[in-house]
């Protein structure tokens, strides 16, 4: 009897210790970058490598902000905006690459995505402190529309040359964050991190998983910030970027004025959508597309994705809180949460 007892005892002990084993938890670090909270989350990385990789990731984001920010007077982008002639000028290669993709989306979206809205954006002032509470004078917006030179306003030439219309100012706000996220992910990978999330103010890209368990990503409800409206279980390599009319906005005389401007009207886009979430392999594409589709509205937006971006997917929420997912969208709508 006694040997049997020993055997049973040892197996019981082993079972208990096996159950007691904790699975590693993801580690997150948050910093203020690009005018928002940026969180880098990693999983399964030893502490010393994790610290190094995360620091490198934030440094990369800082570098891109210094390069492409229109708010920093000495950034290369601001210097580009300071040129007054339409001759081709050499520009940093990275800016050239970002502009290249931006122009492609501009053309495919029939001008819904436009990187040359600096003057209009400044007029509305959504990124200024203190933020606006009233819309600009209708006259000012009309003037802007009237005085706008006809396209093409942004012309790229090889190698790394840009011909920018003197009356057009570049604002990469709707695409640079995505680029920064992609670069941060690349930096993390170069440091040996295989499982991570880079989340810049709600725009994110994930790589890997939590040891086989997918990352649980929620999409915030456009009208109730405490609620999650859809859950996506993501693993592998995918970006999820959301554009909504609730991020920067003000209410004036019963109307909502938000920061996603329609280049054709000069006013905030009113195509019937309040939130657009795009999933793409890269954050830069997802970032630009989310703005484009928000401006285009459901019908044209879906056309754009289906025809020209087949490896991207969308989740659209309209102003009546109806929702629509394209086939490839990975996510589950949550009801009554």
């Amino acid at each position: 009897m006694t040997p049997l007892r020993y055997i049973l005892l040892t197996t019981l002990f082993l079972l208990l210790t096996a159950c007691a084993q904790e699975s590693a938890a993801p580690k997150s670090t948050t910093q203020l970058r690009m005018g928002t909270l940026v969180t880098i989350t990693t999983w399964g990385v030893p502490d010393n490598i994790e610290q190094q990789a995360v620091t490198a990731g934030f440094q990369e984001i800082e570098r891109i902000e210094q390069l492409m920010s229109r708010h920093l007077p000495n950034s290369p982008l601001s210097q580009i905006n300071g040129t007054v002639d339409s001759a081709p000028h050499p520009i940093p290669h990275e800016i050239w690459q970002v502009l290249n993709l931006g122009i492609e989306i501009d053309q495919l979206s029939q001008g819904a995505f436009d990187m040359g809205l600096l003057a209009l954006t400044k007029l509305w002032g959504f990124s200024e402190e203190p933020p606006p509470t009233t819309p600009p004078a209708a006259q000012a917006i009309n003037n802007w529309l009237k005085n706008r030179p006809s396209p093409p306003r942004i012309v790229l030439k090889e190698p790394d040359l840009l011909q920018l219309d003197p009356q057009t100012g570049l604002d990469l706000g709707a695409i640079a964050k995505g680029y920064a996220i992609d670069q941060a992910i690349a930096t993390l990978r170069a440091q040996g991190v295989e499982n991570a999330i880079v989340n810049a103010g709600g725009n994110l890209r994930i790589i890997g998983s939590k040891g086989g368990k997918p990352w649980r990503v929620g999409v915030q409800h456009p009208r109730d910030p405490s609620r999650v409206t859809a859950v996506s279980l993501l693993s592998g390599d995918i970006a999820l970027v959301t554009s909504g009319d609730y991020e920067r906005f003000f209410l004036f005389e019963g109307q909502r004025y938000h920061h996603i401007l329609d280049p054709k009207t000069g006013y905030p886009a009113k195509a019937g959508l309040i939130s657009v979430s795009i999933q793409c392999p890269e954050a830069i594409t997802a970032d630009a597309l989310s703005t484009a589709i928000f401006v285009l509205g459901q019908q044209k937006g879906l056309e754009l994705i289906n025809k020209h971006f087949p490896n991207c997917a969308a989740l659209l929420i309209d102003d009546k809180e109806n929702h629509l997912q394209t086939e490839k969208y990975i996510g589950q709508w949550l009801t009554d949460r």
């Binding site: 006694t2 007892r5 020993y6 005892l9």
Partner: protein, 176 residues
């Protein structure tokens, strides 16, 4: 050990249970350090029963003590009784587990885990019956530390009694 005839065995269980009830009632009337911080001297007799008569007898002594003790104190079927009962059941179960384990235990080795189990089950019962708040569990380590000390104490006292008892145990078996 000479096998004890059943009437003799029942007599011993009765003696030990009676001693347990007496001590239990006495302890209840004495002031104590905290609400549940009783030394639990009555458990000594259950331990004696365990080592002399086996686990079943120990269970009987414990349960008789809990029921009769609560009747004597007028707490029968009260929340206190439920806590006391759950504690005793926990202690009995652990004593059974210890008996099943292959190592050789003395009274202290049985008393310690039984005391901890008694306190643990009492706290769990208290959580459900009296206090719904889970803040109770934050005090658990303190309660358990106290139970460790009383468990050690009761074990030693049980040992002393068992030691002395060996001298008188066989007297009852001698033909009168």
């Amino acid at each position: 050990m000479t096998p004890i005839a059943q009437p003799r065995r029942d007599l011993w269980i009765a003696y030990l249970a009676a001693a347990g009830i007496a001590v239990h009632v006495l302890e209840a009337t004495l002031p104590g350090p905290g609400p549940w911080f009783k030394v639990g001297l009555a458990n000594i007799f259950a331990l004696v029963a365990f080592f002399k008569l086996g686990w079943r007898a120990a269970a009987a002594v414990s349960l008789i003590r809990v029921f009769a003790g609560s009747l004597a104190l007028g707490t029968f079927l009260s929340p206190t009784f439920l806590m006391s009962l759950s504690g005793a059941c926990g202690a009995i179960l652990i004593m059974g587990v210890m008996a099943w384990l292959p190592w050789r235990w003395g009274p202290v080795g049985i008393s310690l885990p039984a005391s901890l189990a008694h306190m643990g089950c009492q706290i769990i019962a208290a959580h459900f019956v009296i206090i719904g708040h889970s803040g109770l569990f934050l005090a658990l380590p303190f309660f358990l530390a106290g139970s460790w000390i009383t468990g050690l104490l009761n074990g030693i006292l049980a040992f002393i009694i068992l030691d002395r008892l060996d001298n008188v145990w066989n007297i009852l078996d001698e033909p009168i």
